[in-house]
Symmetry: C2
Subunit: 430 residues, 2 copies
């Protein structure tokens, strides 16, 4: 069984200036392709410690993924140390040199000698093209007597916007080729049920199923059930996952499932995409009226490319004046029930729908903290409204006074999407 390790190189990681998202990205991708990973290591731009980390990793694993330290300055030593450990001297790679020159031409910038040093690759290495920067990636396979067999090292630049496309284009196809089987995951997205409650329902299935495996895990605003199949073909994996998904949909947690995603999707945006899809299918445009979230709901819709056929816009009504003057909330309601009330939420949603001309509008008004809570309406109390041609529904949620402002606002945003999803599913199902 082949296994991999990750070594990330960079003093900025050891100083905490950047978070090692590369390691998480690569780990997830290795899991997708079924290659086990038992260690991630971070070391700085120091030759001795880097060499020692490489030797430790090669003594344990067959594939070594290295990130960072491929830049043009003298700090960037990854290739040099790999060259030494693999006894593969650096030589000028013509393809790499041509690609780097072309990159500078395209940007209209002058190439320096430093930059050309990036085209020096270990003898026998394969260049991995970088369409978003100057540092080419490198793959080198070689039988090393010191380590008792063939080892593979893959070196990638640190910036995620360079690394991630290179991984998908050049590394993933190679790993799929050498991996003994295909691994595939299907995520069921649940809202309104906790992880342990979902686990209780699924326990028998989880215990009795080895392929696919079934595991729930908690995300901030939802629970995901991940179904993972291992088979000889992708087709077979998909079938196995599909059958398990159907089986889970028939259990008591079926009603909490609002979307599915595969491991390649951006699972984090599934909720927003589901809402947009439902709007699109029903020719509905959407608008928002936001108090405590102050624009987060609209901005999340705006994150999705091509949202303009669905998103009309919205009103951030942080002050009571804007609630009254722009959205038409009555002073009476504000005085009698307060801004954090279902009465106010209803007028906000109706107002947003009216002034934007949208087919459906969602409103939120709540207390995100840390101040502003009362005994009756503690921090974490949020009122929601959804208005459409059929009328307006309101609700109140309590996200807990222990949570921080950011979390309460994020949970509020997710709840708003779920309220739109449920309203459209109920009233418009096409």
């Amino acid at each position: 069984m082949i296994s991999a390790e990750i070594i990330s190189v960079g003093t900025e990681l050891l100083l905490g200036d950047i978070v090692n998202t590369d390691a998480a990205f690569i780990s997830k991708k290795l899991a997708e392709v079924g290659i086990p990973l038992y260690h991630q290591t971070v070391v700085g731009d120091n030759a001795e410690r880097l060499e020692s980390a490489i030797r430790d990793a090669l003594s344990r694993a067959d594939i070594l993924i290295m990130t960072g330290g491929l830049g043009p300055t003298c700090d960037d030593i990854t290739k040099n140390i790999v060259s030494r450990v693999f006894s593969a001297p650096l030589t000028m790679n013509d393809d790499a040199a041509r690609t780097i020159k072309a990159y500078f031409d395209d940007m209209g910038r002058v190439m320096t000698e430093n930059n050309l040093s990036q085209a020096m690759l270990p003898e026998g290495a394969v260049m991995l093209e970088n369409h978003h920067g100057t540092a080419p990636g490198v793959r080198l396979n070689k039988t090393l007597a010191d380590f008792d067999g063939e080892k593979c090292v893959i070196m990638l630049p640190g910036p995620p916007r360079e690394l991630e496309p290179m991984w998908n284009e050049s590394v993933m196809p190679y790993l799929r080729e050498i991996s003994p089987y295909v691994l595939y995951s299907l995520n069921l997205h649940l809202y309104g049920i906790g992880e342990s409650a979902a686990e209780a329902v699924l326990r028998d299935i989880m215990n009795s199923s080895e392929n696919p495996t079934v595991a729930p895990y908690a995300c901030e605003a939802e629970v995901r059930v991940r179904i993972t199949a291992r088979a000889d073909t992708l087709e077979e994996c998909r079938n196995v996952c599909r059958m398990m998904s159907d089986r889970i949909r028939m259990t008591d947690i079926g009603k909490y499932i609002f979307a599915e995603s595969t491991s390649d999707d951006e699972a984090s945006e599934v909720m927003v995409r589901r809402m947009i899809d439902l709007c699109r299918k029903n020719s509905l445009t959407v608008a928002t009226a936001e108090s405590c979230t102050a624009g987060m709901i609209a901005a999340r819709i705006g994150d999705i490319p091509g949202c303009s056929d669905v998103l009309e816009g919205g009103v951030v009504s942080y002050s009571n004046e804007v609630k009254m003057n722009v959205l038409g909330v009555s002073e009476d309601v504000l005085q009698k029930y307060g801004a954090v009330s279902e009465e106010c939420a209803a007028m906000m949603a109706e107002g947003a729908r009216r002034v934007t001309g949208a087919g459906i509008a969602v409103s939120v008004t709540g207390i995100a903290g840390p101040g502003g809570g009362t005994d009756e309406k503690p921090v974490g109390t949020v009122c929601f409204g959804v208005a459409d041609e059929h009328g307006c529904v309101t609700s109140t949620e309590h996200f807990g006074s222990m949570k921080d402002r950011g979390k309460i606002r994020r949970l509020t945003t997710s709840a708003a999407f779920m309220k739109l999803i449920r309203r459209i599913s109920e009233k418009y199902r096409t």
Copy 2:
């Protein structure tokens, strides 16, 4: 010279399900207190590999910081392995047991025997209180014959909202005590100049100054110059940094500095806080009119607790209908100049100011991509307006068609704050 290492324990890190933000947080804090860190390691919930990682780390460093694996289930093995390596058997810690019981009482939940296992600490250990979860932290100092001297291990729970407060309350004071000196940083925040241009101006200062050190680094929307001093007292550090800051302000990059922060601040929110401060000082309220950012600017203001005395609200005018009907942009302007024009931006800013009653309003309208670009107005073109009692100014920025939608929208958001900061500084300086 003492040094530290970090070992993060958790299979979820090796699967890429979560990003190791704990390691970045701890690394930054160790840098602040002047304790060098040369390795970060991640291993799974596997006894053999964990013990081996601990032994490797202790052979290199004096202080071992461990995160994760302190939960109540049988997967959680960190304390057991540390107990073995340190020959310090786990015993029931009465303080820890009391604290865990009190935590469950407070939440109105029933404690299980599993949870009480979290109160078992290695003999001789100090409990570190956890106010946000059930797993207490642990610090253990012991002279180990195997490793030639006194070693310190600090174990903390993995969830950042538990770990970070515990670090600040219990770990940082201890590290400050054992660190031979005080390290202190002051950040100068620059906008409108690149990292290499800033470095060119600062090169002589950087080369001639050893204490404090001066280093520029690029963040997404700004450049920071970090001044770091090392001295016997915090007072002395502050003075040294202050003098260097004054010196840098007199160079050619002085005019790009818009704010300062210390290492303890949330440096990432400095721009928004600076804008809010300027509004507050000049009794100005603020509003937004957002097209391509769709609420991100208002939401960033809403991130800051206590923003309600400054933020009136805003309008997300994604569609032309909302630009016309809510903000009063004329159809004429839209037809003649298009939605992405300074003419439209001016009417959006004026409209936002009018309908919200705010003292100052900022507007953005642009092409975030990936679609929608033309030869004349490529992806990345964004028009801005700022309206106040003195009138309205507009401008156009080009954030580059190579960048992704998310990045263009984040750069647009930062530019909007800078335009507010510069307008207020120019017209209102109190």
